[in-house]
Symmetry: C2
Subunit: 112 residues, 2 copies
Amino acid sequence: MKVGATKTEHFTDRQNKLATLAKALGHPARIAILDYLLKVDTCICGDIVNELPLAQPTISQHLKELKNAGLIKGNIEGNAICYCINENSLEVLQDYFANIADEINIKKSKCC
Amino acid sequence: MKVGATKTEHFTDRQNKLATLAKALGHPARIAILDYLLKVDTCICGDIVNELPLAQPTISQHLKELKNAGLIKGNIEGNAICYCINENSLEVLQDYFANIADEINIKKSKCC
DNA sequence: GATGTTTATCGTAATATTGCAATATAATAA
DNA sequence: TTATTATATTGCAATATTACGATAAACATC
Protein backbone atom coordinates (compact mmCIF):
# COMPACT_ATOMS: atom_id res chain seq x y z
CA MET A 1 0.00 0.00 0.00
CA LYS A 2 1.29 3.39 -0.99
CA VAL A 3 1.20 6.57 1.00
CA GLY A 4 -1.57 8.93 -0.06
CA ALA A 5 -4.16 6.38 -1.12
CA THR A 6 -7.30 5.83 0.90
CA LYS A 7 -7.34 2.47 2.68
CA THR A 8 -10.80 1.47 1.52
CA GLU A 9 -10.15 -2.24 1.97
CA HIS A 10 -9.93 -1.78 5.72
CA PHE A 11 -13.46 -0.46 6.03
CA THR A 12 -16.84 -2.05 5.57
CA ASP A 13 -18.79 -1.89 2.33
CA ARG A 14 -21.37 0.22 4.07
CA GLN A 15 -18.77 2.69 5.29
CA ASN A 16 -17.19 2.93 1.86
CA LYS A 17 -20.56 3.33 0.18
CA LEU A 18 -21.66 6.11 2.51
CA ALA A 19 -18.30 7.83 2.11
CA THR A 20 -18.58 7.65 -1.67
CA LEU A 21 -22.02 9.22 -1.62
CA ALA A 22 -20.98 11.92 0.83
CA LYS A 23 -17.83 12.66 -1.13
CA ALA A 24 -19.85 13.15 -4.29
CA LEU A 25 -21.89 15.76 -2.41
CA GLY A 26 -18.73 17.35 -1.05
CA HIS A 27 -18.49 20.13 -3.62
CA PRO A 28 -20.69 23.23 -3.83
CA ALA A 29 -21.07 22.89 -7.59
CA ARG A 30 -22.54 19.43 -7.14
CA ILE A 31 -24.89 20.63 -4.42
CA ALA A 32 -25.91 23.39 -6.83
CA ILE A 33 -26.55 20.86 -9.57
CA LEU A 34 -28.82 18.87 -7.27
CA ASP A 35 -30.53 22.11 -6.20
CA TYR A 36 -31.24 22.87 -9.81
CA LEU A 37 -32.44 19.36 -10.50
CA LEU A 38 -34.91 19.79 -7.67
CA LYS A 39 -35.93 23.31 -8.62
CA VAL A 40 -36.87 22.69 -12.21
CA ASP A 41 -39.87 20.51 -12.33
CA THR A 42 -38.54 18.02 -14.83
CA CYS A 43 -35.27 16.46 -15.74
CA ILE A 44 -32.59 18.77 -17.03
CA CYS A 45 -31.21 18.43 -20.49
CA GLY A 46 -27.98 20.32 -20.46
CA ASP A 47 -28.93 23.81 -19.39
CA ILE A 48 -26.93 23.52 -16.18
CA VAL A 49 -23.97 25.07 -17.94
CA ASN A 50 -25.91 28.33 -18.20
CA GLU A 51 -26.86 28.18 -14.54
CA LEU A 52 -23.45 27.69 -13.00
CA PRO A 53 -20.28 29.80 -13.20
CA LEU A 54 -18.19 26.95 -14.53
CA ALA A 55 -17.06 25.92 -17.98
CA GLN A 56 -18.82 23.15 -19.84
CA PRO A 57 -16.09 20.51 -19.35
CA THR A 58 -16.09 21.20 -15.62
CA ILE A 59 -19.84 20.75 -15.36
CA SER A 60 -19.57 17.59 -17.41
CA GLN A 61 -17.01 16.26 -14.97
CA HIS A 62 -19.17 17.07 -11.95
CA LEU A 63 -22.15 15.38 -13.59
CA LYS A 64 -20.00 12.34 -14.20
CA GLU A 65 -19.04 12.17 -10.54
CA LEU A 66 -22.63 12.50 -9.40
CA LYS A 67 -23.54 9.75 -11.83
CA ASN A 68 -20.68 7.48 -10.78
CA ALA A 69 -21.70 7.82 -7.17
CA GLY A 70 -25.23 6.90 -8.22
CA LEU A 71 -26.80 10.17 -7.12
CA ILE A 72 -28.18 11.00 -10.55
CA LYS A 73 -29.20 9.07 -13.64
CA GLY A 74 -28.70 10.12 -17.26
CA ASN A 75 -31.02 9.21 -20.10
CA ILE A 76 -30.11 9.89 -23.68
CA GLU A 77 -32.86 11.95 -25.26
CA GLY A 78 -32.07 12.39 -28.93
CA ASN A 79 -29.36 14.97 -29.18
CA ALA A 80 -29.29 15.85 -25.51
CA ILE A 81 -29.00 13.96 -22.24
CA CYS A 82 -31.65 14.06 -19.60
CA TYR A 83 -30.37 13.96 -16.04
CA CYS A 84 -32.48 13.30 -13.01
CA ILE A 85 -32.03 12.49 -9.37
CA ASN A 86 -31.69 8.87 -8.30
CA GLU A 87 -34.04 8.59 -5.37
CA ASN A 88 -32.53 5.33 -4.15
CA SER A 89 -29.15 6.78 -3.30
CA LEU A 90 -30.60 9.75 -1.55
CA GLU A 91 -32.73 7.40 0.46
CA VAL A 92 -29.58 5.65 1.67
CA LEU A 93 -28.26 8.95 2.95
CA GLN A 94 -31.57 9.97 4.43
CA ASP A 95 -31.78 6.69 6.32
CA TYR A 96 -28.24 7.11 7.56
CA PHE A 97 -28.91 10.51 9.08
CA ALA A 98 -32.32 9.57 10.41
CA ASN A 99 -30.63 6.63 12.12
CA ILE A 100 -27.96 8.83 13.62
CA ALA A 101 -30.62 11.20 14.88
CA ASP A 102 -32.35 8.32 16.63
CA GLU A 103 -29.17 7.09 18.26
CA ILE A 104 -28.30 10.55 19.44
CA ASN A 105 -31.69 11.00 21.04
CA ILE A 106 -31.36 7.69 22.86
CA LYS A 107 -28.03 8.51 24.45
CA LYS A 108 -28.48 12.23 24.80
CA SER A 109 -28.02 12.40 28.57
CA LYS A 110 -25.00 10.14 28.64
CA CYS A 111 -22.78 12.41 26.62
CA CYS A 112 -20.88 15.60 27.33
CA MET B 1 -8.45 32.75 -9.40
CA LYS B 2 -6.07 29.93 -10.00
CA VAL B 3 -6.77 26.67 -11.74
CA GLY B 4 -7.43 23.82 -9.36
CA ALA B 5 -9.05 25.77 -6.55
CA THR B 6 -12.74 25.35 -5.80
CA LYS B 7 -14.79 28.42 -6.73
CA THR B 8 -16.60 28.66 -3.41
CA GLU B 9 -17.31 32.36 -3.81
CA HIS B 10 -19.65 31.62 -6.70
CA PHE B 11 -21.97 29.51 -4.62
CA THR B 12 -24.33 30.31 -1.80
CA ASP B 13 -23.38 30.00 1.86
CA ARG B 14 -25.86 27.18 2.19
CA GLN B 15 -24.36 25.29 -0.72
CA ASN B 16 -20.85 25.75 0.63
CA LYS B 17 -21.90 24.74 4.11
CA LEU B 18 -23.61 21.57 2.93
CA ALA B 19 -20.65 20.71 0.72
CA THR B 20 -18.27 21.18 3.65
CA LEU B 21 -20.31 18.87 5.85
CA ALA B 22 -20.65 16.27 3.11
CA LYS B 23 -16.96 16.47 2.27
CA ALA B 24 -16.06 15.82 5.89
CA LEU B 25 -18.14 12.65 5.69
CA GLY B 26 -16.53 11.70 2.39
CA HIS B 27 -13.95 9.32 3.79
CA PRO B 28 -14.60 5.83 5.18
CA ALA B 29 -12.35 6.44 8.18
CA ARG B 30 -14.46 9.40 9.19
CA ILE B 31 -17.67 7.42 8.76
CA ALA B 32 -16.05 4.75 10.92
CA ILE B 33 -15.19 7.32 13.57
CA LEU B 34 -18.80 8.48 13.69
CA ASP B 35 -19.94 4.86 13.80
CA TYR B 36 -17.75 4.30 16.81
CA LEU B 37 -18.92 7.49 18.48
CA LEU B 38 -22.47 6.22 18.11
CA LYS B 39 -21.67 2.67 19.18
CA VAL B 40 -19.96 3.40 22.45
CA ASP B 41 -22.44 4.83 24.83
CA THR B 42 -20.39 7.81 25.90
CA CYS B 43 -17.87 10.15 24.43
CA ILE B 44 -14.62 8.66 23.31
CA CYS B 45 -11.36 9.64 24.88
CA GLY B 46 -8.72 8.55 22.46
CA ASP B 47 -9.32 4.86 21.98
CA ILE B 48 -10.23 5.28 18.33
CA VAL B 49 -6.65 4.64 17.38
CA ASN B 50 -7.04 1.06 18.60
CA GLU B 51 -10.26 0.64 16.65
CA LEU B 52 -9.12 1.78 13.24
CA PRO B 53 -6.32 0.48 10.99
CA LEU B 54 -4.64 3.85 10.75
CA ALA B 55 -1.72 5.45 12.52
CA GLN B 56 -2.28 7.90 15.33
CA PRO B 57 -1.34 11.04 13.35
CA THR B 58 -3.76 10.02 10.61
CA ILE B 59 -6.62 9.56 13.08
CA SER B 60 -5.76 12.87 14.66
CA GLN B 61 -6.00 14.51 11.26
CA HIS B 62 -9.37 12.94 10.52
CA LEU B 63 -10.67 14.04 13.91
CA LYS B 64 -9.50 17.54 13.13
CA GLU B 65 -11.41 17.56 9.88
CA LEU B 66 -14.57 16.31 11.52
CA LYS B 67 -14.15 18.99 14.15
CA ASN B 68 -13.45 21.74 11.63
CA ALA B 69 -16.58 20.83 9.73
CA GLY B 70 -18.49 21.01 13.01
CA LEU B 71 -19.55 17.37 12.99
CA ILE B 72 -17.93 16.58 16.33
CA LYS B 73 -16.94 18.51 19.43
CA GLY B 74 -13.85 17.96 21.55
CA ASN B 75 -13.66 18.60 25.28
CA ILE B 76 -10.38 18.50 27.13
CA GLU B 77 -10.66 16.05 29.98
CA GLY B 78 -7.47 16.20 32.00
CA ASN B 79 -4.88 14.33 30.07
CA ALA B 80 -7.20 13.08 27.35
CA ILE B 81 -9.69 14.63 24.98
CA CYS B 82 -13.31 13.67 24.91
CA TYR B 83 -14.93 13.73 21.49
CA CYS B 84 -18.63 13.58 20.85
CA ILE B 85 -21.02 14.12 18.01
CA ASN B 86 -22.39 17.58 17.35
CA GLU B 87 -26.08 17.02 16.90
CA ASN B 88 -26.67 20.39 15.29
CA SER B 89 -24.58 19.71 12.20
CA LEU B 90 -26.07 16.31 11.65
CA GLU B 91 -29.48 17.91 11.92
CA VAL B 92 -28.56 20.22 9.04
CA LEU B 93 -27.77 17.22 6.88
CA GLN B 94 -30.82 15.31 8.03
CA ASP B 95 -33.05 18.25 7.14
CA TYR B 96 -31.37 18.55 3.76
CA PHE B 97 -32.09 14.96 2.80
CA ALA B 98 -35.56 14.95 4.30
CA ASN B 99 -36.29 18.02 2.19
CA ILE B 100 -34.98 16.37 -0.94
CA ALA B 101 -37.11 13.34 -0.23
CA ASP B 102 -40.18 15.56 0.01
CA GLU B 103 -39.41 17.33 -3.24
CA ILE B 104 -38.83 14.08 -5.03
CA ASN B 105 -42.16 12.70 -3.89
CA ILE B 106 -43.97 15.82 -5.06
CA LYS B 107 -42.59 15.67 -8.59
CA LYS B 108 -42.34 11.92 -8.91
CA SER B 109 -44.59 11.60 -11.92
CA LYS B 110 -43.07 14.48 -13.83
CA CYS B 111 -39.63 12.92 -14.11
CA CYS B 112 -38.08 10.22 -16.23
C1' DG C 1 12.76 17.46 37.87
C1' DA C 2 12.27 13.02 35.22
C1' DT C 3 9.12 9.69 33.09
C1' DG C 4 5.12 8.13 30.89
C1' DT C 5 0.71 8.93 28.48
C1' DT C 6 -2.13 11.26 25.26
C1' DT C 7 -2.90 14.10 21.47
C1' DA C 8 -1.27 17.49 17.99
C1' DT C 9 1.84 19.26 14.53
C1' DC C 10 5.55 19.09 11.06
C1' DG C 11 7.47 17.44 7.02
C1' DT C 12 7.10 14.94 3.08
C1' DA C 13 5.77 11.55 -0.53
C1' DA C 14 1.92 9.70 -2.96
C1' DT C 15 -2.47 10.27 -4.70
C1' DA C 16 -6.75 12.73 -5.93
C1' DT C 17 -9.45 16.68 -7.22
C1' DT C 18 -10.44 21.01 -9.60
C1' DG C 19 -10.77 23.75 -13.57
C1' DC C 20 -10.40 24.76 -18.31
C1' DA C 21 -8.73 25.00 -23.32
C1' DA C 22 -8.63 22.06 -26.95
C1' DT C 23 -10.48 18.39 -29.12
C1' DA C 24 -13.50 14.49 -29.99
C1' DT C 25 -17.95 12.26 -30.42
C1' DA C 26 -22.81 11.83 -31.47
C1' DA C 27 -27.18 13.27 -32.95
C1' DT C 28 -29.87 16.56 -35.52
C1' DA C 29 -30.61 20.10 -39.18
C1' DA C 30 -29.78 22.19 -43.37
C1' DT D 1 -22.74 15.64 -47.05
C1' DT D 2 -21.87 19.56 -44.36
C1' DA D 3 -22.97 22.31 -40.68
C1' DT D 4 -24.81 22.87 -36.01
C1' DT D 5 -25.72 21.65 -31.41
C1' DA D 6 -24.98 18.99 -27.18
C1' DT D 7 -22.07 16.50 -24.38
C1' DA D 8 -17.77 13.86 -23.33
C1' DT D 9 -12.84 13.16 -23.23
C1' DT D 10 -8.01 14.50 -23.18
C1' DG D 11 -4.21 16.80 -21.29
C1' DC D 12 -2.26 19.56 -18.09
C1' DA D 13 -1.35 22.89 -14.32
C1' DA D 14 -2.77 24.09 -9.74
C1' DT D 15 -4.48 22.71 -5.56
C1' DA D 16 -6.03 19.48 -1.97
C1' DT D 17 -6.12 15.17 0.45
C1' DT D 18 -4.16 10.99 2.45
C1' DA D 19 -0.94 8.64 5.18
C1' DC D 20 2.75 8.21 8.33
C1' DG D 21 7.44 8.75 10.76
C1' DA D 22 9.40 11.99 13.62
C1' DT D 23 8.76 15.22 16.87
C1' DA D 24 6.49 18.42 19.94
C1' DA D 25 3.22 19.89 23.48
C1' DA D 26 0.39 19.15 27.54
C1' DC D 27 -0.61 16.92 31.43
C1' DA D 28 -0.14 13.39 35.16
C1' DT D 29 2.64 10.67 38.11
C1' DC D 30 6.64 9.26 40.25
